[in-house]
Amino acid sequence: MKRRDAVVSLTASGVGALLSSCTSSNPKEVISDQQAALFVRQMTGIEMKPGQWAAIQESLKQSRFTSDVDATIQPQSDFDPVVDL
């Protein structure tokens, strides 16, 4: 199964909001271990270990950036005040 198909399949099974649930503002959605394992495998290419889903969700919560940012900003990593300010 391709990744896109997996996501479509998961969406159909009612966990499409899985990623958005992994933010600090939304409560956890309850999904089965099987669904979580499929999702993790398809998204990462790595098998999930039994009982690991809660830790993955927690880690995702801390790592997501969902604030609004001006979409016109160029996201360069380096900043040179002589040139850029």
Binding site: L19, C22, V40, M43, T44, G45, I46, M48, K49, Q52, A55, I56, Q57, S59, L60, Q62, S63, R64, F65, T66, S67, V69, D70, A71, I73, Q74, P75, Q76, S77, D78, F79, D80, P81, V82, D84, L85
Partner: protein
């Protein structure tokens, strides 16, 4: 050994070598003997290069005899953090699973150090995969702080900090992506410089965080930091993120003093940490004022604002770098004592939407501009280097009923990695029980000369850098 070279600076050692009063071989043999005596207690090296170092020193002595003196690093014993490639010498990034990894090519920083005449004494112990600041490596053992071996020297460049503080070398090349040069510098009472992102090449260095990794020197004096940076900085074709800007003479303005300097302080930002750290910081401000500088209150973006975007960038870049390592050797992350990033974290890192990463990098741009505007009317910004003077291996410190956290640990160093601006930690005092404390000088991108100048003036007005750990 007739002469005690233990705590001589690079400047002092090079003056001896240049004047033929000290041979490169003598300097190297002295460093080797001290390493053999002390490193059983410090565990600061993963690999010691005794024979290659002596051979390199012999060749350098021949050069001097022929009248070819390369400069202030000629014959100076140095160490290299063990995630920096060294041709023909194993480079593990602190993982036993990589013991068989022997690069065929030196990293750019190693090539530059060798070209300047520095002698590579060995590869320094570090947090596994440069991940974390505990100084606790599950594969190669805990690195010990020379000031008190029951405590950590910090990390991830913990071996580098311990070696410089204990006088095993006068210079070690580390790297900083959340404080990994400045935290060990602060806890070990030495000088740690994290230059502007792109000032020093990352080519041949274990890629942990592509947009945030900064190689940098740990030394015992600010002048030595300037000497090291002079040798390390510059455009490198092997790392396209290195800046095309010319490298200035970092020694030129070092002694000009800071009379009339405007020094920015954000009182809210600098309000977290152990009481003795905050007290030492206040004392440092008084010293700077006495030197003729004025303190200007500024408001930089908050730690919370910065960490929100930084967490996403760190996680996504970790996912790229450590995701492939995980696939090769999952046991490195799933073991009982994993690095700061666990197997579950790796999976999470690989699931963050690309949109989050792009937005976080856009937000970094916004915060870089806010920081530059907030500090526009200052010459340097100062803050504590690290919230703690004492780092137990297994936990963050507790003071009274207050338990410090990981966020407190990264509060002072991380923002300047995230922003990519230069920051230098210099000793600013000691706790009552004898642990060093650091203050950091920060400034605008590519303005390393100014942090060196300010830190040098401060260092020369104090005697903290003249104190060294005593081994019975």
């Amino acid at each position: 050994m007739s002469r005690d070279l233990t705590f001589l600076s690079i400047g002092q050692l090079s003056a001896e070598i240049r004047a033929h009063r000290l041979s490169c071989v003598e300097a190297v043999q002295f460093a080797l003997e001290r390493t053999q005596t002390l490193d059983k207690r410090l565990n600061s090296y993963i690999t010691v290069l005794a024979e290659p170092a002596v051979n390199q020193a012999k060749e350098l002595d021949v050069e001097i005899a022929r009248g070819h003196y390369r400069g202030p690093l000629h014959g100076i014993p140095i160490s290299i953090k063990d995630h920096i490639d060294t041709a023909g010498i194993r480079t593990t990034a602190g993982a036993k699973s990589r013991l068989g990894r022997v690069p065929t090519k030196d990293a750019a920083v190693v090539r530059r150090m060798k070209a300047a005449g520095a002698v590579i004494m060995g590869k320094a112990n570090m947090n596994k995969f440069a991940d974390g600041e505990s100084g606790d490596n599950p594969d190669f053992g805990r690195i010990r702080n020379p000031w008190n071996t029951n405590f950590s020297p910090g990390g991830s460049s913990g071996g580098s900090g311990a070696q410089v503080a204990a006088g095993l070398v006068a210079l070690s090349i580390g790297s900083d992506n959340g404080g990994s040069v400045r935290i060990p510098a602060s806890l070990c009472g030495v000088v740690g410089l994290k230059p502007t992102h792109g000032r020093i090449s990352m080519e041949g260095i274990f890629p942990r965080l592509y947009s945030i990794d900064h190689p940098g020197p740990l030394t015992r004096t600010v002048e030595d930091s300037a000497i090291a940076l002079q040798g390390l900085a510059g455009r490198d074709a092997g790392d396209t993120t290195t800046a095309r800007r010319e490298v200035p003479d970092y020694g030129k303005d070092l002694r000009l003093g800071i009379r009339g300097f405007r020094i920015g302080v954000d009182r809210k930002f600098a309000s977290v940490g152990q009481a003795e750290v905050l007290h030492a910081f206040e004392q440092a401000l008084k010293t700077l004022t006495a030197l003729g500088a004025s303190i200007i209150e500024v408001t930089i973006p908050s730690y919370e604002q910065m960490s929100l975007a930084a967490n996403t960038i760190y996680a996504c870049e970790t996912g790229v770098a450590e995701g492939s390592l995980y696939r090769e050797h999952p046991a490195d992350f799933d073991e009982a004592r994993p690095p700061a990033t666990t197997g579950a974290d790796i999976r999470a890192c690989l699931m963050i939407p690309a949109v989050d990463y792009i937005r976080a990098t856009q937000q970094r741009r916004v915060l870089q501009i806010e920081y530059a505007r907030a500090t526009r009317d200052t010459d340097v910004f100062v803050a504590p280097s690290y919230a703690f003077y004492q780092r137990p291996f297994d936990s963050f410190p507790k003071e009274g009923n207050h338990q410090f956290t990981e966020d407190d640990a990264f509060r002072y160093p991380m923002p300047f990695d995230f922003l990519g601006v230069p920051a230098l930690s210099v000793p600013c005092g000691f706790s009552k029980d004898g642990f060093p404390i650091g203050v950091q000088f920060v400034t605008r991108a590519f303005n390393e000369a100014t942090v060196l100048r300010a830190a040098y003036a401060y260092e020369q007005a104090t005697d903290w850098h003249t104190r060294h750990p005593i081994f019975s």
